[in-house]
């Protein structure tokens, strides 16, 4: 295959899909947001709702006064909300930096690949945080359970944790590992191009 020989055929290629003005009107009127704006919107929603979530332990205590969040769980949960808020803020800023009109493709690819990599890892970190929150919540109640029930309670929780970790690992291998590799190879391409520049 020779790209130089192909140039003529490429430019002679008479195929034109012939989109009609009606088609164009349909696209620009029926579909309001671009995929990028949609993504930004999604992250903005996350940013807005994450802080009010800090009130969850207090609301929980109102409805379940006999089973409030243990102290560690409460502070861990609230710290997670604060960290998530700044994390969301960072992602929003990252996406806002993408300017389709002005950025060169090297920059766009670098930004979007970084974002994609972050959200793949975010899922894994999110599940780990959830395990800690649930684990610490149940562990906080070990003290009030009778000695007879303590062992079965611990075994039950350990089992839940092991199953959760197993499911997480399977998910990671099936859906994430391959995708992460693909994203990393895009970032490698950017790095290589930048180094040669």
């Amino acid at each position: 295959m020779d790209l130089d020989n192909m140039k003529k055929a490429w430019n002679d290629n008479g195929f034109i899909p012939a989109i009609t003005q009606e088609n164009i009107q349909n696209i620009i009127h029926k579909k309001g947001k671009t995929a990028l704006s949609q993504l930004l919107w999604f992250e903005m929603i996350g940013l807005i709702i994450v802080l009010p979530f800090m009130a969850a332990p207090y609301i929980h205590a109102l409805y379940f006064p006999r089973a409030p969040y243990p102290e560690f769980t409460k502070w861990f949960f609230m710290s997670t909300c604060i960290i998530s808020f700044f994390w969301q803020l960072y992602k929003v800023k990252l996406l806002k930096n993408i300017n389709l009109k002005q950025d060169n493709i090297l920059l766009s690819l670098k930004t979007i690949s970084t974002y994609k990599l972050y959200i793949k890892r975010e899922f894994i970190v999110g599940v780990a945080f959830l395990c800690i929150i649930l684990g610490s919540f149940f562990y906080g109640y070990v003290g009030i359970i009778s000695d007879q029930g303590k062992l079965s309670f611990c075994i039950y929780n350990l089992l839940v944790l092991v199953i959760a970790c197993f499911i997480m690992l399977v998910f990671y291998k099936l859906f994430y590992k391959k995708n992460i590799r693909k994203i990393e190879s895009a970032l490698d391409e950017v790095k290589e191009m930048e180094e040669d520049n």
Binding site: M1, A9, I24, I27, K31, A35, Q38, L39, D103, N197
Partner: protein
């Protein structure tokens, strides 16, 4: 200028440069993103950017930049949204009138995203200065990269 006039100008520009949109979309279409989705996404991105188009660069260069950026950054967290409209026109995955071009389309997915853009711009006989502007690579680096890609494609087609 009234909204209707802007819309008319935009549609004329799209129809005039439709070939670019089709080629960029077909170069980046894969299992995750269909040519139809990319095609519509490019038109929508161009429409959103159109009010700020001052004609400082050639319309084709402006379209190339936005179309390539759109395909490179195209990513949907939700597979269901956004919904794309049904197009009456059928967009084929590859133009099948030339054996070498068909082969190129078969190999294109094995190239990196920037490499694909370089092939596309090179085949469309864009100047090195324009390619540099769109890709962010230096003019001197472009020749080197294109030579490497040519070698890579030759090797891939012989395998």
């Amino acid at each position: 200028m009234q909204n209707k006039d802007i819309e008319k100008d935009f549609m004329d520009m799209i129809q005039l440069n439709e070939r670019i949109i089709y080629k960029v979309a077909s170069f980046y279409a894969d299992i995750d993103q269909s040519i139809n989705d990319l095609y519509q996404e490019i038109i929508l991105s161009l429409w959103k950017a159109y009010p700020s188009f001052r004609g400082e660069s050639k319309p084709s260069t402006w379209i190339y930049r936005i179309a390539l950026n759109t395909c490179i950054t195209f990513f949907r967290r939700s597979k269901r949204k956004p919904q794309y409209v049904e197009l009456v026109v059928d967009i084929p995955d590859t133009p099948d009138n030339n054996d070498e071009i068909v082969e190129l389309y078969k190999l294109i997915n094995q190239l990196g995203k920037i490499e694909r853009a370089l092939v596309l711009l090179y085949l469309d006989e864009k100047s090195h200065k324009e390619i540099a502007e769109i890709t962010g690579l230096t003019v001197t680096n472009i020749s080197t990269k294109i030579s490497r890609i040519k070698e890579k494609l030759k090797r891939m087609s012989n395998e």
